[in-house]
């Protein structure tokens, strides 16, 4: 059948955009996580921002820094998101948002190294702990299912999950600073 995105711009621009976005998706998602702090929010904002980027892709100069260009769309879409969810207690104020956005761009080169380290740290966890983490991240309701199966209180597993994430964060930090994890 026909290709999925053949209606708007010329195909060669679509391919170029998809390639640029695919290559930068992780960094842009990480950038938004650094501002918003919630995975699903970052995904939703990036979805909206990617549409804006697509609409303005004609302004992007090939060969320049796509992440830097795209991050401006992400930042303003994140601000829009926070403005629209102002009733939420989770909203950061504009000054903090700007601080996080600026520092996160500088911090982004560390992201890949952290993720590589995380893979190694995760591999060192006991299989039941790996399973618990996978369950929690694959399905929002999985902890309750696992708790029922194990005849344990969900809060016990949530507490365990928190501990594991903290251990992993510490392990990643040690690895990046050259320590032994």
């Amino acid at each position: 059948m026909s290709d999925p995105s053949s209606t708007e711009p010329p195909p060669e621009r679509q391919a170029e955009f998809v390639a640029a976005l695919t290559a930068s998706y992780g960094k842009l998602h990480g950038y938004l996580m650094g501002i918003l702090g919630r995975r699903h929010d970052a995904e939703d904002v990036l979805q909206r921002a990617s549409v804006r980027m697509w609409q303005k892709f004609g302004d992007f100069a090939p060969g320049t820094n796509f992440v830097a260009w795209a991050s401006t769309f992400c930042f303003y879409e994140a601000k829009n998101f926070l403005r629209l969810t102002a009733r939420s207690p989770l909203r950061f104020d504009d000054d903090l948002l700007a601080t996080l956005a600026g520092e996160r761009l500088e911090d982004l080169p560390l992201r890949e190294r952290r993720l590589d380290a995380l893979e190694a740290c995760f591999a060192k966890l006991e299989p039941p702990d790996q399973t618990l983490i996978r369950a929690a991240y694959l399905d929002d309701d999985a902890i309750n299912t696992v708790a029922t199966r194990m005849d344990r209180a969900p809060q016990t597993l949530y507490n365990r999950l928190y501990q594991l994430r903290r251990r992993l964060a510490d392990c990643v930090q040690r690895q990046l600073s050259g320590g032994i994890s």
Binding site: M1, T22, E43, L90
Partner: protein
Amino acid sequence: MKPDRRRLHHLFCAHGDGSISPEEHAELQDSLRNDAEARRLWFLHQDVDAGLQELATNSPLADAVAPSPHPETARRFAGSHLMTAAAALVLGFFSASFGFGFAGRSLDRTATLLHEGFESGPAPLATGVPPTPDQWSGDYSEIVRQFDGLRPGEGLRMARLLRSDYEGRIEPRPSRQGDLMRLIDVRPYLSEAKGADVVMTLSALFNAGPLPNSEHYNGMVTIYALGAETDLRGATEDSVKKDALAFSVGFSGETDRDPETWQTASTRLLLPPGAGKVMVKVSFCRMPLGGQSASSWPAAHAFTGHFVDEVRASIRIRESAGHASLPSPSRP
């Protein structure tokens, strides 16, 4: 003064899962505003969170609550890379895509719309766009067990795409993409959402047998959000695209040449107001090499050994505490 890491970690997690209290949120803001080390830990925490999501998503343990994965399955997925998550690109009728707002939330509800391992049920039709829900249709395909040593991602069966066309195809353009599609009625879920954001996710596993070096393929998943009254009788993919309120596409990245490893494509879409049905599509697309023109390819492409398995779709309603719960998910 060094920040209290344990306390910060608690605040980060509480912020992430929506359980943070107003007092804790104020404390978190103060810490982040005034302490560069706290901000550095915040970034670290976010990267760990995103990385764990990728590890889970790229894992074979889609049924992660299972007590122990089959070791053979785990081995076959060992080739998955942490950082190969593909971009989800949302295109289509942008004004409609932007017409819905963000909802504050403190509780998410999810339900499974589809979990298809092709283990049972009728074979997919080769009649293009399915006009009615709960039936696979699309291009020529078949359900197979193992094929030339390539085994299903899960279970005993998988779908094999055969060609990039279907019975009676009349669309004028050449085709290099083989598709399987399924229509899902999401109205029961949307009626429960009562204005909250509804996010749909779709993923599938892709694998291919040994390929000529001259051929390159990408696995793709697509979600089309359609109006409740959209009539798909006689529809083509082009007309579906025109009728769609929004759609999103996710890519697996170029398919490797190792039949032992499966690759994942996933995407997600915020369903816009007015959506009542969704069309999910899983596809293999032949990619042109640099300088190569797809226009010189034949009108329809024959796939030598391209497989899809474990198609999963779920819906998430982001609602406020005390909101009605989702109806029981239906499985095909």
